[in-house]
Amino acid sequence: MKSISDTSERAEMIRRPVFTVLGPLSQFPERTVRTFTLDEMSVGIVCANGEVFGFINRCPHQGGPVCEGELSGSIESRRAGEYNYDPQALVLRCPWHGWEFRLTDGTCTIPRHNVKIPRLKVQATRLDVLRREAESSGATLAFAHDCGNLPEGIMVVALRQHLPSHA
């Protein structure tokens, strides 16, 4: 088990993908965004509707910690007093000024605003499966600081990225 903060090996790792285990799936309650700092980059990860989502934790508006915001269902309306609410179509609301971003793809819901929060590749997978994949693809397997000792076979949430990777 190797920590990714070991910078002396960074040059060697740069061209290789990195799978970072963030923790057991059980530590990611449904619809609760957790933030991590990985190599000075803040990211937010959330499990919702059977999927795992990851984003860069920086709002394109004023740089606020968007992943520290709340998740809500979406609302659409064509006239005053009409509320078409979809609790499954989740949006992440920036804690500063309330800009909303679709969980599915990070795009901003504001009409005429072609901005988004960059997505990260993240998934829930078994640790042993992840190890095998890392081995066969030549990826580095890393563990976030407070992961602890994880038994094989447990479902984990893992971030898949290249280093350095700042959006």
């Binding site: 508006h61 064509r78 006239r79 005053a80 007093g81 309330g98 009409p111």
Partner: protein, 363 residues
């Protein structure tokens, strides 16, 4: 003709004040004629409006309204109309009917004013139109009156005061906008009025000049209400005209409003476009009472990001214009320099007369 365009000269704002209701009595039921006489009822104009001293009203009246409203028409014809020969004007009544609390009297007075204008103003100058006056406080009655008058033809728009008890966008007032939209009529907001609310969140100013200056703040609230409450969203073809509003506050207002909307759409999900788009597409301003900087370049720069070239309307606000010599000098020279009289006249013609050239009745 005097206009700077071969398309004719159209004026979106000629004001007629209804102070003396003697001329209106013939349009009222007998019950009210008797009650007026016996109660010595003064009428709405005794209630005053924000920002305008009563003395200002009487100054003009003594000059123009000799012989009552007929005197005004005669003065208009021999003065402004002869001098400038407009192809059409919109007569906007100044009559703070919103100050009348009695629901039935309010309706009777509105009907009387609208009928008087229909009977006396339409031949005043070219192809003239008048604005339908209603009280915003009884929306159902207002809607009925709009439909009645609009069906007769030659109505330019519905005219409402900026100063109301409840913001105009409030759902209670929807019938007014439904009726206006049904007939393709714009809704004009006059920077005036009175119905109980003080002009500021701290109550009343001390001086008329403060109230007058502050009227633009009330207009800002009303426009905000029309957008946030979804009136402009629901009635996509509805146009709002701001009369004598100041104009140059509109860009900074739009940026603030857009910014707030971006973060607070949860509050008003039916506002599906940035407020500045509703403003660009559905809001017009007359070009009297423009708050002007010292240089034409500064004025031009105001509209660099919010293009109002299609939204400004040629207007004189007769009789509140100051002895101009030419049509162009009826409007501020900066406005003429930046936008061009011809363009503003065309905007005015498109907004009011394009509709009427298709469907005029009894002209």
């Amino acid at each position: 003709m005097n206009g700077a365009t071969t398309q004719g000269f159209y004026d979106s704002d000629v004001v007629i004040e209804f102070d003396d209701h003697k001329d209106l009595l013939q349009y009222m039921p007998a019950y009210w004629r008797e009650y007026f006489a016996q109660s010595d009822f003064e009428g709405p104009r005794a209630n005053g409006v924000h920002g305008l001293p009563r003395t200002a009203i009487s100054k003009f009246k003594s000059r123009l309204y000799q012989g009552g409203l007929a005197g005004y028409v005669s003065a208009f014809n021999s003065g402004y109309a002869t001098r400038f020969r407009p192809d059409g004007v919109v007569f906007n009544p100044l009559y703070n009917i919103e100050s009348i609390r009695h629901p039935d009297l309010s309706a009777v007075l509105a009907t009387a004013v609208n009928d008087w204008m229909h009977d006396h103003l339409l031949t005043a100058s070219g192809h003239s139109l008048f604005s339908i006056v209603v009280s915003p406080h009884y929306p159902d009655a207002a809607a009925a009156e709009i439909r009645r008058v609009a069906a007769r033809g030659r109505a330019a728009q519905v005219i409402l005061p900026a100063c109301t008890a409840i913001p105009l966008g409030n759902r209670i007032n929807r019938p007014i906008f439904e009726a206006a939209a049904e007939f393709g009529l714009p809704v004009a907001l006059q920077a005036t009025g009175y119905n109980g609310n003080p002009p500021t969140s701290s109550g009343w100013y001390t001086y008329f000049v403060e109230e007058f200056a502050g009227l633009k703040l009330t207009l800002e609230s009303q426009l905000m209400s029309l957008i946030t409450e979804g009136v402009l969203a629901e009635f996509e073809q509805l146009k709002v005209v701001l009369l004598d509003s100041g104009v140059t506050w509109l860009p900074s207002y739009a940026w603030r409003f857009d910014k707030e909307w971006r973060g607070m759409r949860r509050d008003v999900p039916w506002v599906t476009k940035p407020p500045s788009e509703y403003i660009r597409e559905q809001v017009f301003c007359t070009v009297t009472g423009v708050d002007l900087p010292e240089s034409v370049d500064e004025f031009r720069a105001c509209f660099d990001e919010l293009d109002l070239s299609k939204s400004l309307l040629f207007a004189s606000r007769y009789p509140y214009c100051h002895s101009p010599d030419t049509v162009e000098s009826l409007i501020p020279s900066f406005v003429d320099q930046v936008f061009g009289t011809a363009a503003l006249v065309e905007n005015t013609r498109q907004l009011y007369w394009k509709y009427h050239s298709r469907s005029v009745r009894g002209s």
